[in-house]
């Protein structure tokens, strides 16, 4: 039945229950990750965005909140072209950040 509206499942995240150990490890290697101010320049220049919805802004936010599966899903089509590095107003080395994420986070989200 279509009521013209629907209920979305809750997207609240309980940070007490999230395992952030891998984010801490990532932060150790890439201290710049907390410099991100979520301006979205990387997303708007990203060529992988129209394939896997890649948005580095969201990836960083998701990892901070422990939503690893969603983050890796977006990273799937990243082509490492480096445009995000060039447009980043905070000077974050996003290519190296992405490579570090690929090193630390596993495919099965362990």
């Amino acid at each position: 039945m279509d009521f013209g509206f629907k209920l979305s499942p809750s997207s609240a995240i309980n940070l007490d229950k999230v395992d952030l150990s891998r984010f801490e490890k990532l932060h150790g290697i890439e201290p710049d990750i907390i410099k991100c101010m979520a301006c979205g320049s990387c997303t708007s220049s990203c060529p992988a965005n129209r394939f896997s919805g890649m948005s580095l802004r969201k990836v960083i936010l998701d990892l901070q909140r422990g939503r690893e599966k969603e983050a890796l899903g977006m990273l799937r089509n990243c082509m490492l072209c480096g445009k995000c590095t060039m447009v980043c107003p905070r000077g974050i080395n996003t290519r190296h950040l992405i490579l570090s994420i690929c090193r630390i986070y596993g495919e099965d989200g362990k």
Binding site: P47, S52, M79, C81, M86, V87, H96, R103, Y105, E107
Partner: protein, 620 residues
Amino acid sequence: MRERFLTGYNDFVLPFVCGMIFVLAYCIIGMTRIILQLPAQDRKRFFISLVTPKTFFKNVKDIFLKCLIHVDLWKRNKLLGYMHSSIAFGWFMLILVGHIEVFLYTSNLGAKALYYPIFFRYFVAETESTMKGSLIFFLMDFFLLVVLSGIALAIIKRVRSRLFGMRRTTNPSFLDLVGLYSLWAIFPLRLLAESFTADISGGSFLTKSLNYVFTEFLSNHANMLPAWWAYSCALGIFFFVLPFSRYMHIPTEILLIPLRNAGIRIVNARKGLAKAQVYSCPSCGLCIDACPMVVLKGNIRDTTVYLNRQIRRNNEARIEEISDKCLLCGKCTAVCPVGVEGDKLRIAQRSVRKYSYSPDYSNISAEKEAMMCNKFVTAPNNEVSSADNEKVLYFAGCMTALTPVIRKTTESVLEKAGVEYEIMDKDGGLCCGRPLLMAGRQDQARQLVEKNTEIIMASGADTLLLSCPICYRIFRENYTLPGIEVIHHTEYFERLVLSGRLRMRRDNTKYVYHDPCELGRGCGVYEQPRNVIASAGVLVEAARNRKESICCGGSLGSLTLGFDKRKAMTENAISNLMAGSPDRIVTACPLCMSTFSRYSDRPVEDIAQVVDRTSEAGKL
């Protein structure tokens, strides 16, 4: 000549003989290992190339010109060239003439063949008939003098390397120093030893005259033995440290040259060709001055010569740091006198990294992408309509998407020239794969190459036009596109100008052209952009250009260099371009353009902008 001793043996030959046997065994084992480490296909290719007359003669020629004469160093700096070739060629001739002498004057050599050619003068005495060999005496002294002059220059070079055209030299390791000092000691000691015996065994202008001096105060012949012992010990020490010092390049380069001429590429990061290259590094340090990163002194230890040293030591942490930092501009490869490919070696090191997550592009539909770029439009300019009906597919590339002016002006030029074209990545296409390849993720790069190949083949184009040298390089090296010509826009513009489809208006603006790394050193395109610019204005040259052009510092090659570190490199590259005080900087790479425009005080343009501004439609 007659032999002085019945046995033809003295204990002092032992250090030399042991060292010699050790080095020979080490080299034979090492060579066999490197050849066995090659992939089976490459090994077969290598053996075939050894017996093919063409490559055989090329090998002999290259070994002679590179290992002995050091032609590349001569081209760089005469003094540096003389220093190296005098030691290498002089020593080689001493060994060669020494052998000839021994085989002329003695028979029944047996085991004595091991050391006689080196210590011949100790074991023989001059006879009445020896004067026939005076030419050989002269040659031996002459080449000894040549080597000694080289050694003298080498000593000067350690103090004043600038005289030899080198601003910085390598900091030698401990064993390098041991090798260095023993090498310096060998030839003066040889002179001393031969001078002591010159009145018995004969000599020429050098040894004979020194002998007259010595007999003045050292008349006792018993004094000669310590000199011969010292000479033999110096040789022995040199041979024993050779495999563990930079002098390993001497035997390894002889293997590297045939490997290179066989067309073998680096497959494994540490084995096979990579190993041969690492051990061929003579630590000369030419790559230090060449490296664009060295404007910051902290980066000196991250140049190719130190990478080779760390690979030899298996220092994994430093190998990773050095190989990730590099901009992959390829200049160290271009200046290297032995042909160590610093950029490819680093990419190989990056490719062995373990990642627990790998991107995968199988969800991208090539058909859908191809549908978006198969409607070729003919430009409205009918006067110069495409003569040969070529369909040009223009792939602007990721970087051009950040500098849209390049795409717009290129399109405008294509329209003026009446070219039938289509843009492959109007709404952002796929990446070419080169950035992934540079990061060492070869499987991912291969996937993108396959996707792009499908798209291009389905589009029905016959020419693929690129405005980004990064794309251009991988399209030339890693793509197989049968029936499609891959061309960079600098080359295409030159063609349009030469064929008269574009008419240029020349004015007096002074342009300097910056050779992008990937286009110049990577693809060997130097002349075409210069021809185009020369038809638009006055072309001035940078202080260092073409093969030695300096990377803009914006390269995608470096994984770890941040923006703050790159600024000094960009400023250094700009000051290099200012040598001819140009009005405008022209480049042919979107990445160089945006990097330079950040810090340059003059307008920075892509060649497409210059052509668009100064051209009008021609007539066919």
